[in-house]
Structures are given as structure tokens and as C-alpha cells.
């Protein structure tokens, strides 16, 4: 089955050439590629062999898997996802126990150096027993699987940056894939969860061009993470006019004004939510009336309250300021005392 071409596989699933071209045109558009490349993407996809993908879920909540497998309708993106040879994903596969591990080992052996390794979830370093698969710790499994991988796709913020398991106080010592693997190309597809078409877009680009896409400083595809949500937000004009919702049920909220004052982290969050949107392009959190929580960014869980405006800093509390004032007063009294002593001495030394 792995030797079947992607094009043949899609045709066998009833996908027409026109349908494939539509998907490729959309993919080219999302990834800011020239529209003329849609034909090339389609041609390359049709001729591509189904790549072997080994998906290792570590410390995760299965939200990323839910996101990518979410089938509101049998979409072309879903079919592309199916078109890969997903040789190991213990949440989705029917096999379990030793049979599943055997399948993984076989797939790795047969495709050594060529398979894509997908990882969701962070890797605990605090104690190997915190998360194991078939008795093997996550860190050992990742290192073993990474050796034979052509590239690694870290799916979700946990795999990309440590995510929620890595949040303060990080009880399991959770780290991201990039913290452990340094000698393989890593594509971080962050988000909690990431947008499904971002994952399929990355896979399509890899299948088409045989190389990883252009990445930003955090290893994320620029095509999807090149702009902040604030830059592309449909509520941006209200921000510019200084019109903000002050509470979730005030006049501003009802009129769809900017959610900055309600803690929206859109200005510092790079993701495609505002353009690609969710649930087959229906909407995204800000459109549903809630600010962005910045889930595609590192340490988003530890950036202060979700409902604190971005400009609100952690300056301390009233008691810390009172303590600072008391310290200042003490130093001031001491300096005044010294100054008075100097004044007195000067007076005494002055000849009358």
C-alpha cells in the first residue's frame, strides 16, 4: 500500500482532478505561493509516493489528534492526511500492545532515513516513569525514532514548546522536541490545538517540494505563522479607533469592538486563526467573542492572566510598593541625618 502513489490513492477515494486542483490552489494561497504553482503542486502530489509517517503521542491531551481528525465533512485535507501512510499512532490505530510496537519498528526499519516523524505532546525529563509507551520512556522513544527520521513535525504547542505540561512549576520536567533533538530538521506546528489545514499544508508542501517550508525563528512555517492574529483581525479597525469592549456583556462587546482590554493576546500571537479560521472556516475565538489566549506561543500559560490586557505588567502589589516606600524613607532619613551632621560640622568649623 505504501508504494501506491498519492494521486492513485486519491482517485481511488473518489477525488477528481478538479477537486485536487482546488485543494492545491487553496494550499498555494495559504502558503503565499504563486497561484501558478497549484498545477505543479497537484502534479507533484499525484506522483508522490505515500510517505511513511510515524506519530508519537507523548504528554498530550489528544486535542491535536482531535483537531486533525476532526471530520465535519470528508474534506480533501482529510484525504491528504489519509493519503500518508500513518504507520503508527497509538490513539488511532486498531493494533495495540506488542503488535502496535512491532508495526512501528517495522515501519522505521523499512523507511529508515525517509519517514516523517510526527510528535504531539511534551517529553518529561523529571522521571522516565511519568510517561511511557510499552515500557519505554518518551525521551528514549523520541531519540530512537528521531535517528531514522527525514524530518520531525512537532504538532501542537506541547511538542513545539513544552505547552501546558511545561507550565510553571513544570512538575514533570516537560520539554519540547527541539530541546532534545538537534540534528534533524524540526517543523513546529504550534497551537493548542493547531489548525488542521496548517498540518496538512505542511505535509502537502513536504510531499510536493521534498523539503521543509520556510520557518520563523521558532521553527514555525512562515506561511502560516508569519503575521500576528492582531494584524489580520477583523476587529482591528476598532482597536485603531480606540473602541474596546470593557466587559464580555457590555455595549462594546455586543457591537464587536476590540477585545484588547479583555486580555486578547492577538498582538503577540503568530498564527493563521484570523485568516484560515476553524471548523471549516466558520469562525475563530475572537469572532466568537473571546480574546486570543496566545496558545501558539511559547509559555502562553505563564504570561499572566488570560483576561489581563497585554499592557498590564506585573509591577507587584500594594504591599510591595509600601515596602519600597518604607525602604526609600529609611534611606532618605539616613541620608538626611548624614547631611545634618555635615551641616553641623561645617557650622562648628566655620570661624565666628
Amino acid at each position: 500500500m505504501r508504494d501506491v502513489l498519492v494521486g492513485d490513492y486519491l482517485r481511488s477515494r473518489g477525488v477528481t482532478r478538479r477537486g485536487l486542483l482546488k485543494f492545491c490552489a487553496a494550499t498555494a494561497s495559504w502558503m503565499a505561493l504563486p497561484p501558478t504553482l497549484a498545477q505543479e503542486i497537484a502534479a507533484a502530489l499525484e506522483k508522490a509516493r505515500r510517505p511513511s509517517v510515524i506519530w508519537l503521542p507523548f504528554q498530550e491531551c489528544t486535542g491535536c489528534t482531535e483537531s486533525i481528525t476532526r471530520a465535519d465533512s470528508p474534506t480533501l485535507e482529510g484525504l491528504i492526511f489519509e493519503a500518508i501512510s500513518l504507520d503508527y499512532q497509538h490513539t488511532l490505530q486498531a493494533a495495540a500492545g506488542e503488535a502496535a510496537e512491532e508495526a512501528r519498528r517495522n515501519a522505521m526499519q523499512e523507511n529508515w532515513g525517509k519517514y516523517l516523524l510526527a510528535v504531539d505532546g511534551s517529553i518529561p525529563l523529571g522521571n522516565p516513569g511519568y510517561s511511557t509507551i510499552a515500557g519505554v520512556s518518551n525521551v528514549d522513544l523520541l531519540r530512537e525514532a528521531a535517528k531514522g527520521a527525514a524530518a520531525i513535525v512537532a504538532i501542537g504547542t506541547c511538542a513545539a514548546f513544552g505547552g501546558i505540561p511545561g507550565a510553571n512549576p513544570n512538575p514533570t520536567g516537560a520539554v519540547a522536541v527541539r530541546d532534545l533533538i538537534k540534528d534533524k530538521p524540526i517543523i513546529n506546528v504550534s497551537g493548542c490545538p493547531p489548525i488542521p489545514v496548517v498540518i496538512t499544508g505542511v505535509l502537502a508542501q513536504y510531499l510536493t517540494f521534498g523539503k521543509i517550508p520556510d520557518l520563523d525563528a521558532l521553527g514555525r512555517p512562515r506561511a502560516f505563522y508569519g503575521q500576528t492574529i492582531h494584524d489580520r483581525c477583523y476587529r482591528r479597525p476598532f482597536y485603531e479607533r480606540g473602541q474596546f469592549a470593557e466587559t464580555f456583556d457590555d455595549e462594546g462587546a455586543r457591537k464587536g469592538w476590540c477585545l484588547f482590554k479583555l486580555g486578547c493576546k492577538g498582538p503577540i500571537t503568530y498564527n493563521a486563526c484570523a485568516t484560515i479560521k476553524w471548523n471549516a472556516g466558520t469562525s475563530f475565538p475572537i469572532e466568537a467573542g473571546h480574546g486570543c489566549i496566545g496558545c501558539a506561543e511559547p509559555n502562553f500559560w505563564d504570561k499572566g492572566g488570560f483576561y489581563d490586557a497585554l499592557s498590564v505588567s506585573r509591577w507587584g502589589t500594594g504591599s510591595t510598593l509600601a515596602a519600597a516606600a518604607a525602604a526609600g524613607a529609611a534611606v532618605g532619613v539616613a541620608s538626611a541625618y548624614l547631611a545634618r551632621r555635615r551641616q553641623t560640622r561645617a557650622k562648628e568649623e566655620t570661624p565666628r
Binding site: 480606540g242 503577540i268 499592557s311 505588567s313 510591595t320 510598593l321 524613607a329 534611606v331 532619613v333
Partner: protein, 218 residues
């Protein structure tokens, strides 16, 4: 920890703490200095009224110098007003001030603030250049003057660059630099000449009241 986390967290905490320590230190040190006993009987008008009059009178140029300091005077007022309007009425600043004061107020539209900030920055830069080339000003200016000018200009520069998205893929870094520039201002405030923002009006009052006691109009 990212630069933005650092700017919003520990850096802001320490900047605020150092600013409070510095302000209270200087105020306490000044107020508690020994003063000569005034053995004469008070003369002249009510000292409070005289103090308030001095605050008002010293906020406008004296008639004798009116012509020679017009530029300095008008630009001085203009940039102070622009700076404080930008600080107080840029909408994203309001939640920060509200978190400290406990109450907020409506902001101005961003376009209005950007125009104000740009004019303010242009004036500040013009005054800085003037300080550097003016034959008298450049002689009497010291390190404090230049550093104070720098820390007052920096939040405007970083703020405008951040707002204009000049580095769109490093927007969070620009926000961090903007916050850090404000923190630099906060730390320098009690140490340099910009401390006059705390002492200017009380000192004018004090001068007026003290001279009034001696029967002199200040």
C-alpha cells in the same frame, strides 16, 4: 523567559520598586534637611496665596525674558503636553494605569495619539539638537541632560516603531523594547533632572511662600 516576559515581569517589578525607593528617598532626604531658624517676624501677605501665585507666575515666562525664550517656552509646553497625552490617553496604556490606580478612563483614537507622539518626538529631537549646537546650552549641558533627553525620547521612538509595525515578525520584541524603555525612564526618574516632574510645582510654591514671609514678591 522571553524578552517580553522579562519586560512585563521582573523588569517592571524592579523598575517600579526602584522608582518608589528613589522618589521617597530624595523627598525624605530633602524635607528632613536642617533649616535655619527664622527669627524674624512674618511679613507680607498670606504665604499659601503667595505660594500659589508663584506656582502660576513661574509657569509663564517673565516679561523681561519673554522674547528671548519664546521658542523654548512654547516647545517646552508642547512636548510636555504631547508626552503626557500620549502616556495617559493611548488606549493600551489605560489598562496598565488602571491596574496601578484602580480606575481607568477612555482613551483617544490611535491616529490622534500617533500624530501627537510624532509631533512630540520631533520637538524633543529639535530641542536635543539645539542643546548640542547652541553656544550657551552646549556648555551648560552635562551627562544628566543628555541621558534624561534619551530616556524621555526612547519610549516615544519605541512606541511609534511598535505601533507602525516596522518589524512585523518581531512585534513582541518591539513591545518588549517599548516597555523596557519606559522602565529605564522609571529607574532614571528619581536620579536625574527629570525628577523635576515631582519637585517643580512644590518648589515653586515653597519659593513663593518663603519670600512672602520676608515680604518679597516672588
Amino acid at each position: 523567559m522571553t524578552l517580553l516576559d522579562f519586560a512585563r515581569g521582573p523588569a517592571m517589578f524592579w523598575a517600579m520598586t526602584l522608582m518608589i525607593i528613589g522618589i521617597v528617598w530624595r523627598l525624605a532626604g530633602t524635607v528632613l534637611l536642617a533649616r535655619r531658624k527664622d527669627r524674624s517676624s512674618p511679613r507680607g501677605e498670606n504665604r499659601v496665596a503667595a505660594g500659589l501665585r508663584a506656582v502660576a507666575m513661574r509657569s509663564v515666562p517673565p516679561h523681561e525674558l519673554e522674547k528671548s525664550i519664546t521658542f523654548q517656552h512654547i516647545t517646552g509646553y508642547a512636548w510636555h503636553l504631547g508626552w503626557f497625552a500620549t502616556f495617559l490617553f493611548f488606549a493600551p496604556h489605560v489598562p496598565f494605569l488602571k491596574s496601578i490606580l484602580g480606575f481607568g478612563w477612555p482613551g483617544l483614537p490611535n491616529q490622534a495619539i500617533v500624530i501627537l507622539a510624532a509631533i512630540t518626538l520631533a520637538i524633543l529631537l529639535a530641542l536635543l539638537v539645539r542643546r548640542m549646537v547652541h553656544p550657551v546650552l552646549k556648555v551648560i549641558s552635562d551627562f544628566d541632560d543628555y541621558l534624561s533627553s534619551l530616556v524621555v525620547c526612547a519610549p516615544l521612538v519605541t512606541g511609534i516603531v511598535t505601533y507602525a509595525h516596522l518589524f512585523p515578525d518581531r512585534h513582541e520584541t518591539m513591545i518588549a523594547l517599548h516597555i523596557l524603555s519606559v522602565e529605564a525612564l522609571m529607574v532614571w526618574l528619581p536620579l536625574g533632572k527629570i525628577f523635576h516632574c515631582i519637585t517643580a510645582l512644590p518648589l515653586r510654591f515653597q519659593i513663593g511662600a518663603t519670600y512672602a514671609r520676608r515680604g518679597v514678591k516672588a
